[in-house]
Amino acid sequence: MTNSHITSAYDEELKYLTRRISEMGGLAEQMAADAVRALVTGDAALAQKVISEDVVLDNAEREIIDKAVVTIAKRQPMAADLREIMGAIRIAADLERVGDLGKNNAKRVIAIQQSGVPRALARGLEHLSELALMQLKEVLDVYATRSAQKAESIRDRDEEIDAMYTSLFRELLTYMMEDPRNITPCTHLLFCAKNLERIGDHATNIAESIYYITTGYQPEGERPKHDDSVSVAVTPDA
């Protein structure tokens, strides 16, 4: 579709950024998925692996920023090239945050391990994680293909995750009310659910960045939101 640069080294620099973003994306996705698996199965070793992997993502983000700055200084990019580089910086930051959220979930595994996760709640958490990770996986595919249209539809789907999160939130409150022994694991699970919901938000941010890279325009309008957990109140039956 687009022609190559006259200076081939410039093409290499841009390709390098794209490749590193894809690698970061793969790792962030893996970490988030492993963390949920570790939670559900109480696998402390897997949790530890996730925690130790975070540094790789942090370094990758720093490296992408360094390379991007050098490329800007050296090539003085214009138009689509400039958007590509700015987009890479933003996406790297989002992916680094996804890694942090995965790591945070992994850290809670130890605390939850003693009481274990009630099967029904694990189901809900797994479902939420499936949605968020699907969103992340698709957005990374879209980054590879640069389809503005798909980026927009991903952005519009964030509300599913928000709705799922709200329902899980309600469920966790109910469990806590039923038995105070559930409070410790359920509170941790609330944070885990929130972390997964945020991973969905980062996927949406990435979709918006891709839309901007591809079209040169910011996506219009507010993104659809269905996170009603802020107004959820569950009262014990009298």
Binding site: T2, N3, H5
Partner: protein
């Protein structure tokens, strides 16, 4: 209606009027301009409106016709025998190719600065005083001194040369010589200043000084600049026009042109890709 809504309504009114004004107001208006060098069709049906008191940059690959078109505005192409210009170029509504128009008067109104600084082999003072003298702009020495001083000030050169106005203009550095040429152009009180790659022979510091000068001159003059430096076009201009193979490909706000141009040819050119 509360205060806020009234303010909003007022603001939106103001906005619309300003926009409409900008849309209709133009200093230079070119319609269906064609230029031929003998058999060669160098400019193909160019239409463009150039706004007053702003900087318009012409960009495009070598040989695209941007300099040729620039030179049409003050009839510099008249001196080339095989060159033929068709169509209309009007400044403030007056066709510059009207037989009644005196090219010498026209070039006082439309000054020009070239790629290589070309001061006259005369003193700094005489370089600036030459134009006002042939156009009879000063009646006495004190008036001429005044013109020379203000012109050099406008060109940002005064402080560097005020103690040596009798030194030869050719003894200045390249950047100073170019600013001397700008002072020379400004001395005859032009309305339009055409610049044909004014910084391509200058180092980054001298370039920055000329760019700063362009920025200041913009308040009082309509400036059209041809440049091969994309960054320069992006820095100094408000509007950018892209030429390719004698055609005007597109013309738009500079911010838009360098972040998200409409035409693929502009994209490829500014990003340094094969077209």
């Amino acid at each position: 209606m509360n205060d806020a809504t009234m303010n909003n309504a007022l603001m939106s009114n103001v906005k619309t009027t300003t926009k409409a004004d900008v849309m209709t107001e133009s200093k230079i208006s070119a319609k269906n301009v064609q230029v031929f060098y003998g058999e060669k069709h160098a400019i193909k049906d160019v239409n463009i409106e150039i706004r007053p008191r702003s900087v318009t940059a012409f960009i495009g690959p070598s040989g695209c016709g941007k300099s040729t078109f620039l030179r049409c505005i003050n009839r510099m192409n008249d001196t080339i025998d095989i060159c033929r210009v068709e169509g209309d170029i009007a400044i403030d509504g007056e066709n510059v190719y009207d037989p009644k128009v005196d090219p010498v008067q026209l070039r006082a109104k439309v000054g020009m600065v070239f790629q290589k600084p070309n001061p006259f082999p005369k003193t700094i003072y005489e370089n600036v005083a030459y134009g006002p003298r042939i156009h009879g702009l000063a009646r006495k020495k004190s008036e001429m001194d005044e013109i020379v001083a203000t012109s050099l000030q406008k060109a940002g050169l005064w402080n560097e040369v005020k103690d040596r106005l009798d030194a030869p203009g050719t003894g200045l550095s390249g950047g100073q010589q170019q600013r001397l040429c700008i002072a020379r152009a400004v001395a005859v009180s032009p309305e339009v200043i055409l610049m044909d790659e004014p910084c391509s022979a200058l180092d980054p510091i001298a370039t920055a000084k000329v760019e700063e000068l362009i920025h200041e001159l913009r308040e009082n003059y309509t400036i059209v600049i041809v440049t091969h430096s994309m960054q320069q076009a992006a820095r100094v201009s408000q509007r950018t026009a892209m030429f390719h193979l004698g055609e005007l490909v597109e013309e738009d706000d500079t911010d838009k042109m360098f972040t998200n141009p409409n035409d693929q040819r502009t994209q490829d050119y500014i990003m340094g890709r094969f077209g």
